[in-house]
Amino acid sequence: MSKVTTAANQFAARRGFNQIANRLFTGIVWLIGICTIVFICGLLFLILKKGLPELDWSFLYGLPSEMEEGGGIGPLIFNSFYVLVISLVISIPLGMAAGIYLAEFAPATKFIAFIRICVEGLASVPSIIFGLFGIALFVEALDIGLTIIGGAVSLAFLNLPVLTRVTEESIKAVPKELKHASFALGSTHLQTIRRVLIPVALNGIITGICLTAGRAFGESAVIILTAGVSSSGEMWDFSLYSPGATLAVHLWYVQSEAIVPDAQLIAEKSAAVLVFVVLLINIVFRVPLWLNERKTR
């Protein structure tokens, strides 16, 4: 008797432990993934649903009120952007310069390794610590009180380690072959950094800037301690020495301290605006990335 007649198809599915584990794992990953997405989208939807329909120009543009109903958030939105822009203007060049230094110039010594650990540590320090540092520097040492410039600089310090780290990692991820190609054509180190390393690393760097910008826009602890919980109460106040409460701070303020009767509504609308703007920032920062990608594809 030959075995051939009775042999089953040698490619037939086996139901061993590995196959079952594989399916189980795939299922669990799918489930968790879907749950997470539904949760995040639900949260976004809830926040936007409560606030967005109530929005009107007078709220977005109006001045906040201390006692009566119907206060707006105009100066607070303005302060949010103003503080954000100043802090980015300070932290992007410094962070990128430090990141480029660490990636390209720093010698491989123990001291530099230690610096790197410090940068990493600073990146995960709670923001309130930077707030306290801001107080010590601006309110006590320099004695200028709670100001926009104090808040912006403290915020820049908060973002600096993250930007440094992201820049360093992105530059280091550029293939060595490209760097060698550039050097072999007779480029200087600066030319290579400017024309090859940064353009190729731009994707990662902008993602980093985007994350820090979003975080800075929503940051409250640092601002409360260094820029205060009130605004100067007028629109388009470009003075660096005005008190500079931002939207995120205002949200905290009306929810916990304010005595206006419609605090709940203001909080809901502010939250919606805050979330909306952070989403917008993410999209706006990605436009140069898309353009860059289209050019290099």
Binding site: E177, A181, F183, A184, L185, G186, T188, V196, R297
Partner: protein
């Protein structure tokens, strides 16, 4: 065999190179003639790529490299203090093992070098791009796609693009570091044909682990072993009638 007594362009004299404690090149002395193809062959780790990279000082980038002896190009010592490495590398172009075009358009890849060295005018750049691509036998394939990313082309085309990019800065010498080892046989053949054409204008020094390639394309061949030059001869002579027993063992495939 070419009996034309061509002039020496690269003069290497008693060159020793160390990576930290490792003695990578030992007392290397040779004269490389101009407007010809010189091939470096030998087993992995024999120092052939290291020697190639001393010619455009790419070894400078490896920390712990120490060099003794003399390397002169056209009579000028390239390791003397007054040498500007950027100017040297402009005159000594290099093509690498892996095609490494920048993630930019074909045009910007070629124009990269000239722009580094201060050429700005569009008309001038257009001209350089076209002549470089023509010299690299790539113009007809890419002339309609100059704005397309270099990464969308095949490996063989990318490597010819890299050759065109090296030519665009008008070098005297072209170093090819196993430039075909990542390519398929047909692309390899095209690069070899290209090298044959280019040697009329450029001095080519190539490292290859492929002995047949050295035999096919080069005028002179140098055989390295453990950081030493074992034999330097006209290619035909080296392959048909090697002087050294070790050369014979290597080219007959007994080791390596």
């Amino acid at each position: 065999m070419q009996s034309v007594a061509s002039q020496t362009l690269i003069d290497i004299h008693k060159l020793n190179l160390y990576y930290g404690q490792f003695h990578a090149l030992k007392d290397v002395t040779m004269d490389i003639p101009e407007k010809a193809i010189t091939a470096f062959i030998g087993p992995s780790g024999c120092g052939k790529s290291t020697l190639l990279r001393t010619l455009n000082r790419m070894n400078d980038m490896i920390p712990g490299t120490r060099i003794e002896g003399k390397v002169a190009i056209g009579g000028a010592d390239i390791y003397s203090k007054e040498v500007d490495v950027e100017t040297l590398r402009k005159k000594v172009g290099m093509v690498f093992q892996q095609p490494n075009p920048f993630p930019k358009s074909i045009y910007d890849n070629i124009a990269y070098g000239p722009r580094l060295h201060g050429i700005r005018g569009k008309q001038k750049l257009d001209e350089i791009v076209e002549t470089s691509l023509r010299s690299a036998a790539l113009w007809d394939e890419v002339k309609d796609y100059l704005k397309r990313s270099a990464l969308s082309f095949s490996g063989g085309q990318q490597q010819r693009l890299c050759i065109a990019r090296a030519i665009a800065v008008n070098p005297d010498i072209l170093l090819m570091d196993e430039a075909t080892s990542a390519l398929d046989p047909i692309s390899t053949l095209k690069i070899e044909e290209l090298a044959q054409e280019l040697k009329d204008k450029y001095t080519i020094v190539m490292v290859t682990h492929n002995m047949h390639q050295a035999a096919r394309v080069s005028n002179q061949t140098v055989f390295f072993l453990n950081g030493e030059v074992v034999e330097f001869a006209e290619t035909e002579k080296l392959f048909s009638n090697p002087r050294d027993q070790r050369t014979e063992d290597y080219i007959s495939g007994r080791f390596g």
